[in-house]
């Protein structure tokens, strides 16, 4: 079997499992909703410039939600020695990394779409004709979170403190991504588009490429037993 087939099989397995329980989806969407609301009460964005506060709130919701989702997905693999089972499969460990990244990406994208809708509704966001630009930023940001998070979640769930370790590791690493995403999203919300934010897009692409490459190269070392 080719690597692409292996990846497709694992992604299909992950999605099937998730669609049966909907655990990660429901909890992440609900958690993101709570983050949006908590920040709404804390900052009262109605009285402030949405492009400044709103972009930050949206990305905090995405970041915190992604931590929850990635922990969920990786902790699942610990049960019934599922990860060991996957490691026994005759395939490259790097295929497992790509497959996990893809599953996470699809799962996170689904939760982010719901969060985005809630954001637009609650914060009364004007998004006329800017949807493409926002989608681009969200996709680039999510790839970065997933590339980094897959590596870090794989290790954190197998430490003694389990899921506690992931946010401690992920957040410091994710700061450049957070800055880039908030800056670009803020510009979109202010109606300025992305024309002046191309350097941030380049930085996001560099971030994604760097952590995909490093994750791909180091993943086999994480899985040895």
């Amino acid at each position: 079997m080719s690597a692409a087939r292996h990846i497709a099989l694992i992604v299909a397995k992950d999605l099937r499992g998730e669609l049966r329980t909907k655990e990660a989806l429901t909890s992440t969407v609900f958690f993101s909703l709570l983050v949006l609301l908590v920040f709404n009460f804390a900052f009262d964005p109605g009285t402030r410039d949405l492009s400044v506060v709103g972009a930050g709130i949206l990305w905090i919701a995405f970041l915190f939600g992604s931590i929850l989702a990635m922990n969920r997905l990786m902790l699942d693999e610990r049960e019934d020695a599922r990860l060991e089972g996957l490691m026994l499969c005759p395939m490259e460990r790097t295929s497992l990394y790509i497959a996990k990244c893809l599953s996470m990406f699809l799962l996170l994208s689904a939760t982010e779409i719901v969060t985005l809708v809630l954001f637009v509704v609650f914060f009364n966001v004007p998004l006329d004709g800017q949807f493409g630009a926002l989608a681009l930023v969200v996709v680039l940001g999510t790839i970065g979170l997933v590339a980094l998070g897959t590596t870090l979640a794989t290790m954190s769930v197998r430490t003694r403190t389990r899921e506690v370790m992931l946010p401690l590791l992920l957040i410091p690493f994710a700061v450049p991504l957070l800055i880039a995403c908030v800056e670009t999203t803020g510009s979109i919300l202010a109606g300025r588009g992305l024309a002046e934010e191309l350097h941030w897009l380049r930085l996001l692409i560099a971030f994604d490429a760097l952590f995909l490459a490093l994750g791909y190269l180091t993943f086999p070392a994480l899985l040895e037993e």
Binding site: L148, T151, L152, M155, S156, R158, T159, R160, T161, V164, M165, L168, L169, I171, P172, F173, V175, P176, I179, A180, E183, H199, W200, L203, A206, F207, L210, F211, L214, T218, A221, L222, E224, E225
Partner: protein, 241 residues
Amino acid sequence: MSADQADTRSSGGIDSLGTLVPIGFLAALIALWAAFLYAPTERIEGNVQRILYMHVPAAMTMYVAYSLVFLASVMYLTRRDSRWDELAAASAEVGTVFATTVLITGPIWAKKAWGTYWVWDARLTTTLLLWLIFCAYLMLRTYGGAGEHVARYCAVVGIIGFADLPIIHYSVQWWRTLHPEPKVMTQGSMGGGMETSMFLALALGTVAALMLFAVLLRLRLRLERMERRLEVAGQLLRSEG
């Protein structure tokens, strides 16, 4: 690893400490003399500027230490020799001591020179993020649990933590430019127009800081090896009992 090998290794550490400590002590004395007596008092900032002779050497040592973590991590993942893991662990910890020194001396100086403890300037933010990443690294080591897998995880974090540096650098630099400029940031022009005696004091301070790093690294390495041998001994005892 046999007990004999471990013995020769740790005694090797003691021997080199025996020469490092007196030379380092001398270097520290000279650096202190240079910082407080030899270097002239800065015209505008006054005596508080002398913190430079500790602040900048600590920053340089921090980068040396974290580079060493990166190299040792790469070596550990490719060679799987636990000595590289020991080196990475020791260097990360000592490096974080120097990073903390940078983050403590910086605001003290800044309060006097810039009128504020903290500005979200690119260099400060980069140092802070690097410090956070390596704090997380140390937490992973401490709370990770026992086992060789934690050494591999730490090696991966050590590698991606250092590789992240250019991205952090550009992100915080661009982020800053959208905000009001910090009141004073003459660091950039300072290197060029620095008084020769000041530069000399800075160089001596850097030598002393690097010597201190070498001594602390040696001590920390010895401790790390003792801990590991103790753990192995404990396991043997339990399996026999």
